[in-house]
C-alpha cells in the first residue's frame, strides 16, 4: 500500500479464536441443535419436517430483519409484535367490509408503516429514548387492535391467501420464498447501499455520522418505518397462516425477534450487524421449538430453553473484537 505499510497482526487459527465463534453464534448453535435433534429423532431432518420448520420460521424471520435494522442503529423496537397484530386487525377490518385481499394487504402494510413512522419520528426528531417510545407503541398498537376488532377475531377465507400459506414453488412455501427474498433484499440494502452504511454509522458513532452531514433523525425514521412495514408483511403471513385476523398479543414474537437478533451477533449497542445472523437466529429458535415438540417435551419448557440459548449467545459476545 505505502512505504510505511505495516503488516496486520496474524489472525489466530479460526477454531481457536473466540471472536469467530461469537460472530457465528447463530450458525454454530443451529448446527449443534440440528445434530442433537437428528440423533434423538431421525424424522427431524425429514423433508416434511424441514418444510414445516421453514414455514413456521417465515414470520419470525421477517420481524427479525426489521428488528436487526433498528438494533443496528443502536435502538430497539419493542413494538414489532403489537404492530403486526395491529396490521393483522386492519386486514380483518377491511376484509369484513368486503374489500379485496390486495386492498386488505395494502391496508396492513400502510398501517404497520405508519406505526413505525410514528416511532421513528418520535425517536429521531423528538429525541425520546427508543425503549420508551416503542414500549408506548407496544401498548398503543395492541390497544388500538383491540378497539378496532372489538376484541373479536375476523375469519379470513380467501383462495389467494390460502395459496400463500399452502402453495409455493415446488416444495418451498410462498411464505418462505417471501421471507427469503426480503432477507436477500435487506442484506443488499445494509451492505451495498449508502443507506445501509449510514445505518451502521449512526449506530456505531452518532456524533461522527452527524459530523459528516448524515442526519441521525432521518436514519432513525427510516429504520423504524422499515420495521413497521415488515411487521405489516408479517401480519399478512400471519393472517394467511391462521385463517383469521385476531387481536391476540403475540408477545413471544417480540421476545423471539430480539433473541434472534442477539443470537445473530448484532450488537445491541449498534454499529455492527448482519442480516444472515438474525435470519439464522430465527431459524435456530424455530428449530429449537420444533425439536422439543418432536421429542415430546412439554411446550412449557420452550421459553425456558429460548432463554438459556439467548443468554449463552450473549455470553459468547464477550469475546467479540
Amino acid at each position: 500500500m505505502t512505504a510505511h505499510a505495516t503488516a496486520a497482526p496474524p489472525a489466530p487459527a479460526f477454531w481457536r479464536d473466540p471472536g469467530q465463534w461469537a460472530d457465528r453464534a447463530a450458525a454454530v448453535g443451529l448446527v449443534v441443535l440440528v445434530v442433537i435433534f437428528q440423533i434423538a429423532n431421525p424424522t427431524f431432518l425429514s423433508a416434511g419436517n424441514i418444510r414445516s420448520m421453514l414455514v413456521a420460521s417465515a414470520i419470525l424471520v421477517v420481524l427479525s430483519i426489521g428488528q436487526a435494522f433498528v438494533v443496528a442503529t443502536g435502538g430497539i423496537d419493542l413494538s414489532v409484535a403489537s404492530t403486526m397484530t395491529f396490521a393483522a386487525v386492519l386486514f380483518g377490518f377491511g376484509f369484513s367490509r368486503g374489500w379485496g385481499v390486495l386492498a386488505c394487504c395494502l391496508l396492513a402494510l400502510v398501517g404497520g408503516g405508519l406505526v413505525g413512522l410514528a416511532c421513528g419520528v418520535l425517536v429521531g426528531r423528538g429525541r425520546i429514548t427508543d425503549f420508551v417510545v416503542t414500549l408506548g407503541a407496544l401498548s398503543a398498537a395492541s390497544g388500538a387492535a383491540l378497539v378496532i376488532a372489538d376484541g373479536k377475531p375476523v375469519t379470513v377465507i380467501d383462495a389467494g391467501l390460502l395459496a400463500l400459506s399452502a402453495g409455493g414453488i415446488g416444495p418451498i412455501g410462498w411464505s418462505v420464498v417471501i421471507a427469503a427474498v426480503l432477507a436477500v433484499g435487506a442484506h443488499v440494502l445494509l451492505f451495498r447501499t449508502r443507506l445501509g452504511t449510514h445505518v451502521l454509522a449512526v449506530g456505531g458513532n452518532p456524533e461522527a455520522a452527524t459530523a459528516t452531514g448524515i442526519s441521525v433523525a432521518r436514519i432513525k425514521t427510516v429504520v423504524y418505518t422499515l420495521s413497521g412495514v415488515l411487521a405489516g408483511i408479517a401480519a399478512i403471513l400471519l393472517v394467511s397462516r391462521v385463517g383469521a385476523a385476531e387481536p391476540a398479543s403475540n408477545t413471544s414474537f417480540l421476545l423471539n425477534s430480539v433473541a434472534a437478533v442477539v443470537l445473530g451477533g448484532v450488537s445491541l449497542a449498534g454499529g455492527r450487524g448482519t442480516i444472515t445472523g438474525p435470519v439464522l437466529g430465527a431459524l435456530l429458535l424455530t428449530a429449537l421449538a420444533n425439536g422439543l415438540t418432536l421429542l415430546g417435551v412439554s411446550p412449557f419448557y420452550q421459553p425456558l430453553a429460548v432463554g438459556i440459548v439467548v443468554v449463552a449467545a450473549a455470553f459468547l459476545t464477550r469475546w467479540r473484537r
Binding site: V188, L200, A211
Partner: protein, 243 residues
C-alpha cells in the same frame, strides 16, 4: 488573501456564553493557529465554521461572501472539512468506509465498493499515511493511525479549508511528527489549515498566523514570525491583554 472571515460571532449554550463577539480571519494557503485554555471556546468556534452550530449573532464569510451552513453537509459542500477533537470516525466501519462516509461513490442505487477501495488506497498513499490496509476496521488502528485517517478524509474531496481540533493532543512523539508532516503537506498543496493546539512549540514550528482566545473572546492575533512563546502564553493566561 483572506479565505474565511469570522465577524462578531457570539453563541450561548443556555446561560453559558461560549463565544463573545469573535472576529478573526484565515488566509488562503497558510497554516493559521488558534490557541487558548480549555473552555476558551475554540471547539465551539470551529463547530460554527463547520456548520455544526449556528452563531446567535455575527457572520462568517467564506471566499468573500457570507455563508450560513445549515448542517455539516453544507460546510463540506463548500469545501470546509473538519477533523473534530473527538475524532469523528466510526470504529466498526473500515478505513475506506470512513474515508467515504456520506461521500460514497455509487453506481445506480448501489455502492461502488471497488472504486472506493481503490481511491481510498490512493488517498492514503498520496499523504503517505501509515495504516495497515484500507480494508481494516478503524477499531484495530492506533491513535496516530486514526488521526491520520481523519486528516486524510479532510484532505480528500478538494477541500479548501481543513480545520483540525487538537490533532496531536493524544499522540506520542513519533506520531505527532508524522501528523505535523501531514499538516505541512496540506499547506504545500495550497490548502488553508486552521490548527487548534495546546502545544505552543508546535504552533511556532508550523503556523504563519496565531489567534488567541480567552473566555469566549478573541484576545489577540499576530504573525508567528513576530511573536514568541512567552507572548502567546501571556495572552492565553491573561497576564497581558491586547483588547
Amino acid at each position: 488573501m483572506s479565505l474565511m472571515k469570522v465577524e462578531g460571532v457570539s453563541l450561548a449554550f443556555g446561560s453559558v456564553q461560549a463565544l463573545r463577539d469573535v472576529t478573526l480571519d484565515i488566509a488562503a494557503g497558510e497554516i493559521t493557529a488558534l490557541v487558548g485554555d480549555n473552555g476558551a471556546g475554540k471547539s465551539t468556534l470551529v463547530r460554527c465554521m463547520a456548520g455544526v452550530h449556528r452563531p446567535d449573532s455575527g457572520r462568517i464569510l467564506f471566499d468573500g461572501s457570507p455563508v450560513e451552513f445549515r448542517s455539516a453537509e453544507g460546510a463540506r459542500a463548500a469545501g470546509i472539512e473538519t477533523v473534530h477533537q473527538n475524532l469523528a470516525l466510526v470504529e466498526d466501519l473500515t478505513v475506506w468506509q470512513n474515508l467515504f462516509l456520506n461521500r460514497e461513490l455509487v453506481r445506480g442505487p448501489f455502492l461502488d465498493r471497488k472504486a472506493m477501495r481503490a481511491r481510498a488506497g490512493e488517498m492514503v498513499a498520496e499523504l503517505a499515511v501509515n495504516v495497515p490496509a484500507v480494508t481494516a476496521r478503524v477499531r484495530r488502528l492506533s491513535g496516530g493511525q486514526r488521526q491520520a485517517v481523519a486528516i486524510c478524509r479532510a484532505a480528500g474531496f478538494d477541500s479548501r479549508l481543513v480545520i483540525m481540533d487538537e490533532p496531536t493532543a493524544a499522540l506520542g512523539v513519533q506520531e505527532t511528527a508524522r501528523v505535523e508532516t501531514l499538516i505541512r503537506t496540506l499547506r504545500d498543496d495550497g490548502r488553508a489549515v486552521l490548527l487548534i493546539s495546546h502545544d505552543f512549540a508546535q504552533v511556532l514550528r508550523l503556523s504563519d498566523q496565531v489567534w488567541v482566545m480567552r473566555g469566549g473572546r478573541c484576545v489577540g492575533g499576530m504573525r508567528t514570525k513576530d511573536t514568541t512563546g512567552d507572548e502567546i502564553v501571556s495572552l492565553v493566561t491573561g497576564t497581558k491583554g491586547s483588547t
